[in-house]
């Protein structure tokens, strides 16, 4: 994934557990497409929502 302001980056990272017979060139092409689409998920501030929902019992913070 590259931020629009960043230069595109190409890394060779060993991926554990890919199926036998994977064609690296074909995978790299498709992975680049997936990476680009992942940009649409956006980037969240550290204080923005948590990844899982949580229900809080009524009055949890009441003393």
């Amino acid at each position: 994934m590259a931020h629009p302001d960043d230069l595109p980056l190409r890394l060779e990272i060993p991926l554990y557990g890919l199926p036998r017979g994977t064609d690296p060139a074909a995978l790299a092409l498709k992975a680049a497409g997936v990476a680009a689409s992942l940009e649409e998920l956006g980037s969240f501030d550290q204080r923005e929502p948590e990844p899982a929902h949580a229900f809080r019992p009524t009055g949890e913070n009441d003393r």
Binding site: G17, S43, E50, P51, A52, N61, D62, R63
Partner: protein
Amino acid sequence: MNDSALAGRGIADLGRLIRKRELSPRELVAAVFQRIRAVDPAVNAFIRLCEEAAVADAEQAEREIAAGDWRGPLHGVPFAVKDIIDAAGIPTTGGSRVWKEFVPGADAPAVGGLKRAGAVLVGKLNLHELAFGITSRNPHFGPVRNPWDLSASCGGSSSGSAAALAAGLVPLTLGTDTGGSIRIPSALCGVAGLKPTYGLVSREGVLPLAWSMDHVGPMARRAQDLAIALDAMTPKGSARAGADADAPANSAPRPERVFEKLVIGIPRAFFDEGLREDIARCVLAAVDHMRLMGARVREIEIPGFAAADRAAFTILFSEAAACLEAHTRRQPEALGAAVMEGVRLGMTIPATRYIQALRVRSRAIAAMERMFADVDLLVAPATMADAHLLEAEEVVVGGGLTVDVRTAMTRYTRFFNLTGHPVLCLPCGFSGRGLPVGMQLAAAPFRERQLLAIGSAYQSAFPLEPAVAGLTQDSARHPSDSHTGGPQPT
């Protein structure tokens, strides 16, 4: 009473003196700031002091107590919090330049609970940047030095929280623990720290790092003081906090009563060849003490410990990368090298591996549940070695092995962030180099009160002397006092 005379006293002791009006909260707060000014320039535990507000709060406490409105053992007692936890009106920097402008409007519930119990906030404490790491080297606020040896690390990330206690600056601090960040500095600085059950203490108002691994907990010099603080930090009447209400909350229980029916498990996986011999000796001596007081001891296996350790790393780094990603994109120049490296590493972990790690977590929790059907308490070392030099990247551990500092510090701690079990870290002796050694006491979920009663009984039967590093204004002068930060007044 001068600042040195008050330095080693715990909450229970101070609370008693205040209640009997033999010590005034104003006098106590003045002594705390006097000692901070004398000793902290060398230790660098504080990022920010709130002296004006603290004096006002102490005066109010004094008026209330004089009017017969004593709120409990924390009333008028000073405390400080890791600067990743919100206190209303005071900046929460996270130990980073990325949050230097952030001023929260409200207290985190943990801070609010202590304030409602009458405790007086004196300042915010230094930490590993954004709590993402275990060194006490902060690139923006300077390193935190270990009060037992100013050339040594305090561990992290709650470095300032442990150092402030070991130097006798305050009797109570708050820390956070995502991979060992309360327990590692507690062990290296010879103080007591509690990582409560996941979720027991609210994470609201605390900068997140890895949501499913983050814990907030109290740190003090004695387990008894942790019990007093935990009571104030958890909602009253909550089923969770009262899940083990049969155990004493904040009174020092008789050791023979606590240990007579206790079954202790010694997990073999935590006593591997990497554990340094002098550390193992201290922990096993503590177990022998507990045996002498009536506990039964047996060795146990934790199946899949190695996989669980990898799962803890995978979850922590994946979640941290997601949590901090925006900073690395928007203002990379404001982040230290260690945080940037951690985020980059986390980004290389595929989602499938993260999901598998979550499945390993479920298996580990189930294994622990089975284990706690047979034993009441698990005793293990906290770290592979004692405090290393501040600048060290590698540490020699047991068997002559050299490992990176992160491994030496977190190998025995992050397993419990994965499972969420409560763990009390207590000092249990001194290493061959005369530095503190810590042990972990783990129990079943929500058994904090039992855990703290055990810790309290152990400390009253086998008090460790000295409990505070013998720093004075003269001895606290360090030749390389050149940190970039230092406390700022609010």
